[in-house]
């Protein structure tokens, strides 16, 4: 049993922390939330320059590090409430291509992803946010060497920024994945305004013609890849939430030590102290349970149950932490100027993305049946 980081992980942590602290200030975050794409080419180039885009990819595809390194970096990104197509490109898409892609596809996409030259996203949900194969109704009809796609995808992360989109489509009884150039004719992208400022959109496919070469993995086997990437995605979200919660606690402690009421720093009052104690336990527990699953994923022994437990806990714990952070901050944390609400809103978005606590608890209960 070892809860410690190894040298490589510590190095990645320091690298990411220092970079983000210097470059991703509150001011940058506020600008990125307002930005259409949520990221600038400058930031992206720097991230690429530090090899952060190849995390968890093999060296032969320009990668470096493993899923644990990625988890460490995501926690640091959470700490600054990082916004940008990192999650969609690295966590979702690079993993899927690595898992499902042919050697040719890997060579085509992975090194360019690692170099920061292309952004890729995943288009999954259609009518619900249940993340089940049943929800996949977008039709892909074979026509000679091609497929014709018709349907609409919702909640697509970074829909506007992506150069390619991996589409989960219905092919008869199964689901098949396609990797599609976003500029293919017949594709329309509409972006949402979201509370959290995370960049999502819907993608409408109208008679979009795709070559059969652009199928990712086996025909009709797409959902098995999706299940695997959903586990990674959920743990990655957990890692981000751990960093976010940690930062919310830091802001809260700083404020509680400095703000005076009734002649004392408010952090001396027991109601505030007990809130902070609960926040700390929630955050520690969140980190332990996130890293347990991240480690298992890294070792190839990940299970549905571990991931469901982690996501159920972390997403609820993170809401509790944010709620307490606001309660301690009082009115000042309720203002748009303050940085806290960026974390609060994002925490909600991440809670629900890839299945919220309720969904995860149902999964756990089902595993006991």
């Amino acid at each position: 049993m070892d809860f410690g980081l190894n040298e490589q992980q510590e190095m990645m942590q320091t690298l990411a922390k220092d970079f983000l602290a210097a470059e991703y200030t509150d001011k940058v975050l506020k600008a990125m939330v307002k930005d259409d794409l949520g990221c600038t080419p400058e930031i992206w180039d720097k991230i690429a320059g530090m090899n952060l885009l190849g995390l968890s990819l093999p060296e032969k595809y320009g990668g470096v590090g493993d899923f644990l390194d990625l988890t460490v970096v995501l926690e640091e990104m959470g700490r600054v409430c990082f916004l940008g197509p990192y999650f969609s490109t690295v966590v979702l898409s690079a993993s899927l291509i690595m898992d499902a892609g042919s050697e040719e596809q890997k060579k085509q996409y992975l090194p360019t992803i690692a170099e920061g030259k292309i952004l890729v996203t995943l288009a999954l949900s259609e009518t619900s946010d249940n993340y089940t194969a049943d929800d996949i109704k977008l039709k892909a009809v074979a026509k000679g060497d091609s497929y014709i796609l018709n349907g609409t995808k919702i909640f697509v992360p970074d829909a506007r920024a992506a150069n390619y989109v991996i589409v989960a489509a219905r092919t008869g009884k199964g689901v098949t994945l396609f990797i599609v150039d976003i500029n293919t004719s017949g594709i329309t992208v509409n972006t949402y305004q979201t509370v959290a400022g995370d960049k999502q959109g819907e993608i409408i496919f109208k008679d979009v013609k795709i070559s059969a070469k652009d199928i990712l993995g086996e025909v009709n086997q797409g959902w098995s890849y999706i299940e695997k990437v959903l586990r990674k995605a959920n743990i990655a979200r957990c890692a981000e939430m751990v960093g976010m919660a940690e930062q919310a606690l830091k802001l809260t402690l700083d404020y509680a030590k400095e703000r005076i009421a009734f002649g004392h720093p408010i952090g001396a009052f027991q109601s505030i102290q007990h809130r902070c104690a609960d926040m700390k336990m929630d955050i520690d527990g969140s980190r332990f349970i996130t890293y347990q699953s991240a480690w298992k994923i890294n070792e190839g022994i990940d299970t549905e149950k571990d991931v469901a437990i982690a996501k159920a806990f972390v997403s609820q714990a993170c809401q509790r932490v944010m709620h307490s952070a606001h309660q301690v901050h009082g009115a000042i944390g309720f203002t748009e100027d303050h940085i806290l609400h960026y974390y609060t809103k994002r925490a909600r978005a991440y809670e629900f993305s890839f299945g919220g606590a309720d969904t995860q608890l149902e999964k756990i209960a089902a595993l006991y049946r």
Binding site: F155, T194, V195, A261, F262, A331, D337, A349, G356
Partner: protein
């Protein structure tokens, strides 16, 4: 014991309902705008003012005032019925700060002259007030207020800053708690309660936008603002007692349970239309029905006490706490039900209730701070209500 409204009260409710259905803003009724979410609507101040004057014209903003001051001398349950119906019909126009905060304070502590000067404008819904209590360093700890009013002949000259001043950007008048004696021990004995014309030179209002993106709050700066001494409520250095009475009115003004109950109904209805109210959420809904019902009766009880002229100690704090927490819980329930759809702020067909879910949820973070933090409320219940000793 009687848990029924009187026939007259039921008739009044009916009259109000008919009026609001007809005269309330149609767009708001369609969108099911929630009370605390009003400022998220376009052009809302004009709509609010207009509706306020309509209510005033009906005599509904002074229902339970004594007849000599233009009121109808009715029980405070009439006010409660009116506000329940306003919540139900998603109607603005009830400017609590005027009707429920400053008016009762003036009625209780103001001179006859002040009553005659200020009550008619409130009753007609034409004059709107804001509240000058909190300061940057003193939110919960009002006794430590620093804004200073210095006597100068027949007037006082105020310098200082207020913050979290709801609606200062369109209010006509402010009630202001300022320090008039820096030596007073304990410090709350050096405060005075003033009524201030917001058009007086020297007042600067800066907006504070809240995390829901709405503009409710302001910073208000006072730079040699001159207030005639006849605008003092009660007398010099007695402002604390006026403010404390006012805070108890404030705590029972907004009907948390009614706002929560309406929002709950709207959520459930919309979720049923989308066929997404699963078994877990149905049980959670039942829990919220229970919570709102308890908050409702707690509010009725304190209203009954007020109607009886019984003194209250902790009851207003409990009433506010339960009512406002019920809004928070219902707003969270909205997110729990609609999940990612609830986090869409746009007007797309995917966003339930025209994006109100997220807006109400974000706005609800304020409910455990405004009108006293939940911590202060619980301190009050424990100390004033249960006689537990102070540590400090």
């Amino acid at each position: 014991m009687d848990f029924r409204f009187s026939l007259e009260e039921e008739n009044f409710r009916q009259e109000v309902a008919v009026f609001l259905e007809k005269e309330g803003p149609k767009e708001w009724q369609k969108k099911k705008v929630s009370f605390f979410d009003m400022s998220g609507q376009e052009n809302w101040i004009a709509i609010h003012r207009e509706m306020s004057q309509k209510l005033g014209a009906k005599g509904w903003l002074s229902l339970h005032w004594p007849k000599e001051y233009g009121g109808q001398g009715l029980s405070p349950f009439y006010r409660l019925i009116l506000r329940e119906e306003l919540a139900k019909y998603h109607c603005p126009g009830y400017h609590s700060l005027s009707v429920d905060f400053v008016a009762p304070a003036i009625l209780l502590k103001g001179s006859d002259e002040l009553k005659k000067r200020f009550l008619p404008g409130i009753a007609s819904g034409e004059v709107m007030w804001c509240e000058g209590l909190s300061e940057p360093g003193h939110g919960s700890d009002l006794a430590a207020i620093e804004s200073f009013a210095k006597q100068d002949g027949e007037s006082y000259v105020v310098n200082g800053q207020k913050i979290w001043t709801t609606y200062a950007h369109f209010a006509d008048w402010m009630f202001l708690l300022a320090r008039t004696d820096r030596q007073a021990q304990p410090n709350y004995r050096g405060l005075t309660f003033f009524l201030v014309d917001m058009h007086t030179p020297g007042i600067t209002v800066n907006p504070i936008i809240n995390m829901a993106g709405h503009y409710d709050f302001n910073e208000v700066f006072f730079d040699d603002v001159r207030i005639p001494k006849e605008n003092i409520v009660d007398s010099i250095n007695r402002g604390w007692y006026v403010a404390m009475a006012l805070l108890d009115f404030e705590r029972t003004s907004d009907l948390g349970y009614a706002i929560a109950g309406t929002l709950l109904n709207d959520i459930v209805e919309c979720a049923r239309e989308r066929d997404i109210l699963d078994a877990q959420n149905q049980i959670r809904m039942a829990e919220l029905v229970v919570e709102c019902e308890v908050a409702r009766l707690t509010h009725y009880h304190v209203t009954w006490m007020q109607a009886q002229g019984k003194g209250t100690t902790y009851e207003a704090a409990a009433c506010k706490l339960l009512g406002f927490e019920s809004i928070q819980h219902v707003a969270e329930f909205g997110l729990k039900v609609f999940k990612q759809f609830g986090l869409l702020s746009d007007k797309s067909s995917l966003a339930p209730l025209y994006g109100r879910i997220s807006s109400c949820y974000l706005r609800s973070f304020g409910h455990s701070m405004e009108a006293g933090t939940s911590e202060i409320d619980r301190d009050v219940i424990a100390q004033r209500g249960l006689g537990l000793p102070r540590l400090r």
